[in-house]
């Protein structure tokens, strides 16, 4: 979903792209112009994507695939996502030190895209359990008793349904595009994914305060086809 739909979409809309993955290619002068990468940011690739856009460089996606091993153990996955969430928080905080300057550099669409795709990523993960709790409570005590008006309850109900449905559908369409249709039904497990990503987001928030530069390692080589035991 990320590499086949969202990144090409950002590319087409010319919105700053938080880079990621194992196959980024740079021109050396562009890297020198942005003074290299931030060694304190744990998703330095995402940060580079935003800084390149701010300096007027264009990041494009190539019609090519680099396969990498997906984490297949829960603890490992949580550590990886915690690092990603913390990195996005760092990137957002760094670039939002001066929002007006960011707006000037990235333009309105770039600024909005940055808020949605970087800020929105961790903010939605942090808010998600809270919203689920309110939704669950509404079954027992009703929205008016929770202090929410009818329009508000309609908006939040639609948001819950549409947000989850859209994300689940995109997760199902991703494998379809690649011809891996046997994976499509797993897209329906999105609510569980959201729950776990929220756990990662809260771990990330805790670490941002306590251990901001700590890099939680992902152990690779756990799946059947990859060589065993290489941390990265």
């Amino acid at each position: 979903m990320w590499f086949d739909f969202l990144l090409p979409g950002l590319d087409r809309l010319q919105i700053p792209m938080p880079l990621g993955g194992t196959s980024n290619h740079f021109r050396v002068e562009a890297l020198r112009a942005i003074h290299g990468w931030d060694p304190f940011n744990v998703t330095e690739d995402a940060d580079i994507g935003i800084r390149l856009a701010r300096l007027g460089y264009r990041v494009r996606t190539l019609d090519s695939t680099t396969f990498e091993e997906a984490t297949n153990a829960l603890g490992n996955w949580l550590r990886q996502r915690t690092r990603w969430m913390k990195g996005y928080m760092q990137t957002w905080l760094v670039h939002m030190r001066d929002p007006r300057r960011l707006l000037r550099h990235a333009g309105l669409a770039g600024f909005a895209g940055f808020q949605f795709f970087v800020g929105g990523t961790f903010l939605s993960a942090l808010l998600n359990p809270l919203l689920w709790v309110i939704f669950a409570l509404s079954f027992f005590v009703g929205f008016p008793e929770l202090g929410l008006s009818r329009p508000m309850s309609s908006i939040s109900g639609s948001g819950l349904l549409l947000g989850n449905a859209l994300f689940a559908y995109l997760s199902m369409l991703g494998p379809y595009r690649r011809g891996w249709l046997e994976l499509s039904p797993y897209g329906l497990l999105v609510p569980i994914y959201w729950l776990l990503i929220s756990v990662a987001a809260y771990r990330a928030l805790w670490q941002l305060v306590r251990k901001p530069w700590h890099w939680e390692k992902t152990t690779h080589g756990l799946s059947r086809i990859a060589p065993r035991g290489s941390p990265g």
Partner: protein, 281 residues
């Protein structure tokens, strides 16, 4: 005279719209290598359901015809080109049909994906099931939304598409729409296309015979005192099955999906009859 002329004009417009759209659908199906029999069954089914199932009002019948055409055309495009956009388009068309005809829309959403000639649907069961779930996703969400938001807005659409008709209108439209001449006229374009293309083979002849039998049964049921539209839908449903059965061996669904298709057809039939008997109780 005026009270008779207006409904007749509306019925004629509805017949014209639905037959024109059915003819367009037939041509699209033929261009995507559907046999003339199969294309005739599908487009004929669209024309019949528009003219007989929907109210005789011009708007309702025309909207249903348009919806049927949109579903058929997007299905054909998906068959030709398996781009994700086509999946979204087909799912959206199926979902929007539920606003016009809730029961028919749900049945169509369950059954129609099974009739598409997409290689992934004819491959491994896991692939077929994955694609089927993907195609069902948007219609399922629409069903959920319509259930949750079953309030004034949905009933307003229903009132717009199925306005209460006065006695004169009902009588006249009943006569005009049930007249075999008009029903036959509406099918003329598709018959013309069918004959013009190529002589029908044995399978196509069998399909055409089945279509004729089902249509006769449906018309007979609809000519009855209570205009049993549920029986009409139930009679037209096997056409979908015929369309699936007519596929060549390499185009057929994997066995578990065939079992699912048969169960889906049977339950849709039961559902349509159940709703009908409840409405006449």
């Amino acid at each position: 005279m005026t009270t008779v002329a207006v409904p007749f004009f509306r019925a004629a417009v509805a017949a014209l719209v639905s037959s024109a759209l059915a003819a367009l659908l037939f041509r699209r199906l033929r261009r995507t290598q559907y046999s003339s029999g199969c294309a005739f069954a599908i487009s004929g089914c669209c024309a019949l359901q528009t003219l007989l199932f929907q109210s005789a009002e011009c708007l309702g019948a025309s909207v249903l015809a348009l919806s049927s055409y949109a579903i058929g055309a997007s299905g054909v495009r998906l068959t030709k080109d398996q781009d994700p956009r086509r999946v979204i388009q087909f799912g959206t068309c199926l979902a929007s049909a539920q606003i016009i005809a809730p029961l028919g829309g749900v049945i169509a959403a369950i059954l129609l994906p099974l009739t598409l000639r997409i290689p992934q649907l004819r491959g491994a069961v896991s692939h077929a099931m994955g694609l089927y779930l993907l195609l069902l996703f948007i219609p399922s969400m629409m069903t959920l939304v319509l259930q949750v938001a079953a309030d004034e807005s949905t009933s307003a659409i229903s009132r717009l598409l199925h306005p209460p008709a006065d006695a004169t209108t009902s009588k006249f439209t009943f006569e005009s729409l049930c007249s075999p001449a008009l029903a036959g006229l509406s099918l003329l374009p598709v018959v013309g296309f069918s004959l013009w293309k190529q002589p029908a083979g044995m399978t196509s002849t069998a399909v055409l015979l089945l279509v004729a039998l089902c249509s006769a049964f449906a018309l007979a049921a609809w000519f009855g005192e209570n205009r049993r539209t549920g029986v009409l839908i139930a009679a037209l449903l096997p056409l979908g099955g015929v369309a699936v059965g007519e596929l060549s061996r390499e185009d057929r669904l994997p066995v578990p999906m065939q079992v699912w298709a048969v169960c889906a057809f049977a339950s849709s039939f039961a559902l349509a009859l159940g709703v009908e008997s409840r409405s006449h109780a």
